[in-house]
C-alpha cells in the first residue's frame, strides 16, 4: 500500500513540475500543431483518404516522442542540475521505481499530443478522424506508448553518464522521428537506415498505428508490428533496469555522483 501511495505521489509531483516547464508545454501543445499543419500543407493536393492518416498521426506521434524524450530522458539531467538526484539515490525507494512512476505520468501527459493533433486536424484543418478498428487502434497505441516509454527510460540511463544530456536530446529527436517512421514510412529510407530502425520500438509502434487506421481489417503484419513493439520495448525496459541497478551501485561504490 505504501508503494502504491509513493507511486501515485511521485506521479502527481512529477506532473505538476513537468507541466510548469515552458519548453515542455511547447513540445506538447505547439509541436504537434506545427507538424500536422506542415504535413497538411504538403499533402494539400492529394486525396484526403490517402493522407488523413499521416496528418492525424504524424503530429501526434512526433509530439508523443518529443514529449517523452524531453521529459523522461531530460528528467535525469534536471534532477542532477537541481541537486535532487543524489537525494533520490539515497532514498529508500529504488531509483528504477521512482523513474517508473515518472515515466507512467509522462506517458499519460504525452497522450495529450495525440489528442491535440486529432482535435486540431478536425476543427482547423477539416480532416476527420475515423476509427475503422477501435480495438486494434487502442492496442497499437498502448504498445506504442509502452515501447517509447521503455526506450526513453533506456535513454535516461545513457544520459546519466553525461552532464550535457540536453545536447543528445536535441540531436536524437529528428533522427528518431525519421527512423521511427512517424510522419512517413521507413520504406523510403535506405537499407542501412531501415536496418537500424528494426531495433526501435517507435518504428514498429508507428507502423502498427498506421495499420490500425487503414480501412482493411488488421492483418498479419499489424500483429507482427504490435508484437515487435512489445518485444523491443521489453528489451529496452530490461536494459534500463539493469543499467539503473549498475549505475546506482557504481555511484554508491565510487561516491562520484556529483563529480562525474
Amino acid at each position: 500500500m505504501a508503494n502504491v501511495h509513493l507511486f501515485i505521489s511521485t506521479m502527481a509531483v512529477h506532473a505538476a513540475s513537468t507541466i510548469k516547464r515552458p519548453f515542455y508545454r511547447i513540445v506538447l501543445f505547439i509541436q504537434p500543431i506545427v507538424i500536422a499543419t506542415t504535413v497538411h500543407m504538403i499533402y494539400r493536393n492529394a486525396a484526403e483518404e490517402q493522407v488523413a492518416r499521416f496528418i492525424l498521426l504524424g503530429g501526434g506521434l512526433a509530439g508523443i516522442w518529443s514529449a517523452m524524450t524531453f521529459s523522461t530522458a531530460g528528467d535525469v539531467e534536471r534532477e542532477r542540475l537541481q541537486g535532487v538526484f543524489s537525494v533520490l539515490i539515497a532514498a529508500p525507494a529504488s531509483l528504477a521505481f521512482v523513474f517508473t512512476a515518472k515515466i507512467v505520468m509522462n506517458t499519460l501527459l504525452a497522450l495529450l499530443a495525440l489528442v491535440i493533433t486529432i482535435l486540431y486536424s478536425w476543427l482547423v484543418l477539416g480532416v476527420h478522424f475515423v476509427l475503422p478498428h477501435p480495438a486494434a487502434f487502442v492496442l497499437a497505441l498502448s504498445s506504442f506508448l509502452f515501447g517509447t516509454g521503455a526506450f526513453a527510460l533506456f535513454l535516461a540511463n545513457i544520459f546519466l553518464l553525461t552532464r550535457t544530456a540536453w545536447v543528445f536530446q536535441n540531436v536524437l529527436e529528428s533522427p528518431l522521428l525519421i527512423l521511427g517512421g512517424v510522419a512517413f514510412p521507413v520504406a523510403i529510407l535506405p537499407t542501412w537506415a531501415r536496418a537500424i530502425s528494426v531495433v526501435l520500438p517507435i518504428r514498429w509502434g508507428s507502423e502498427a498505428l498506421y495499420a490500425a487506421l487503414a480501412a482493411t481489417p488488421p492483418d498479419a503484419y499489424f500483429w507482427q508490428c504490435v508484437l515487435w513493439t512489445m518485444v523491443t520495448g521489453a528489451l529496452y525496459w530490461c536494459l534500463a533496469q539493469v543499467l539503473f541497478h549498475y549505475i546506482e551501485y557504481r555511484v554508491r561504490w565510487l561516491g562520484n555522483l556529483e563529480t562525474a
Binding site: P22, F23, R25, I26, I30, V34, T37, T38, V39, M41, I42, Y43, R44, A46, T164, V167, F168, N170, V171, E173, S174, P175, L177, I178, A183, F184, P185, I188, L189
Partner: protein, 263 residues
C-alpha cells in the same frame, strides 16, 4: 594606429565572448554534434517528408537549409539573453561603460555568421544528396542573399530576446517566433498557399523575402531578387532597431523603477 584599432579589437572580443558564452561549457564534440548532426537531421526530416509526398525534395532541402539560419540567429541571440538573466549578469551589462547598442550588435554579429555557416552546411547536403541544381547558381549573389537573410533573422532574435526584460517567458517567445518562421515563410510550402491574412504576416517576417530571393538565385533567375533582398534587409533592420530601442527603454525603466530582475 593601435588607438584606432583598440575599439575594433574590443568589439570583436565582446562578440567572441557573447558567442562563447553559449558554448564555452560544452566539449568540442558536443559543439560539433549540435552544429552538424542536428541541423542535418532536421533538414532530412522535412526533405524526406516532401519526398514521400511525391514532391521535389530539392525544394524542401533548399527551404530547410536556409531556415537552419534561424537556429543560430534566433535561438542564439535569445539564449544569450536568457543566460544573462539566469546568471544575474544583465545588471552588469546595463551598468557597464560600453554603450548598450555596441553590446547588442556584438551579440548578434557572430550569431548571424554562425547562421550563415549552418546554412552553407545544409546547402552542401542539398546539393550533394537531394539533387539541388548548382549549375545556374550565381555564387556571389547567393552568398550575399544568405548573409542578409541570416542577419535579418538575427535581428528578429535580438527583438525577441528583449521581451525577456519585460517579463515575457523567453522560451515560449523564442519557440513561437521559430514556429512562425517554419510555417509562414515558404520553407516547406509556398507562401501563396497560405490564407491571405497569413500571407500578410509572412511578408512581415524575416526569411520570407530572403528565401524567395535565394530560390530565384539558385534557379538562375534575376528578376525580383534585388527587391526581395532589399525587403529582407529592411525587415531585419527594423527588428534589430526595434530591439535596440526597446532595450534602451528597458534600461531607462530599470534605472527608474529598479525592477530589472524582478520581472
Amino acid at each position: 594606429m593601435s588607438l584606432l584599432f583598440q575599439p575594433i579589437a574590443r568589439w570583436l572580443r565582446l562578440a567572441l565572448l557573447g558567442y562563447r558564452a553559449l558554448f564555452a561549457w560544452l566539449t568540442p564534440l558536443d559543439y560539433l554534434t549540435i552544429k552538424i548532426i542536428e541541423p542535418i537531421a532536421q533538414l532530412l526530416f522535412f526533405t524526406l517528408l516532401g519526398q514521400f509526398a511525391g514532391l521535389d525534395p530539392a525544394y524542401f532541402a533548399l527551404g530547410n537549409a536556409v531556415r537552419l539560419a534561424s537556429v543560430s540567429g534566433l535561438y542564439g541571440c535569445v539564449v544569450v539573453m536568457m543566460e544573462e538573466r539566469m546568471s544575474g549578469t544583465l545588471q552588469l551589462v546595463i551598468a557597464s561603460a560600453t554603450p548598450i547598442g555596441q553590446t547588442l550588435v556584438a551579440r548578434m554579429a557572430l550569431q548571424g555568421l554562425d547562421g550563415l555557416l549552418t546554412t552553407l552546411l545544409g546547402l552542401g547536403v542539398a546539393f550533394l544528396f537531394f539533387g539541388l541544381d548548382a549549375s545556374q547558381v550565381q555564387w556571389v549573389w547567393l552568398l550575399g542573399a544568405l548573409l542578409i537573410t541570416s542577419y535579418a533573422i538575427a535581428g528578429l532574435g535580438l527583438f525577441v530576446s528583449i521581451f525577456g526584460v519585460f517579463g515575457v517567458d523567453l522560451t515560449f517567445a523564442m519557440n513561437f517566433a521559430y514556429t512562425l518562421l517554419l510555417l509562414f515563410c515558404g520553407v516547406n510550402f509556398p507562401v501563396d498557399a497560405l490564407p491571405v491574412p497569413l500571407q500578410l504576416v509572412a511578408n512581415l517576417l524575416p526569411l520570407t523575402h530572403g528565401l524567395a530571393a535565394i530560390r530565384a538565385i539558385v534557379a538562375g533567375e534575376s528578376s525580383g531578387v534585388l527587391l526581395h533582398l532589399c525587403w529582407e534587409a529592411l525587415i531585419g533592420l527594423l527588428y534589430g532597431l526595434s530591439g535596440y530601442f526597446l532595450f534602451r527603454y528597458a534600461e531607462y525603466r530599470a534605472r527608474v523603477l529598479g525592477t530589472l530582475d524582478l520581472v
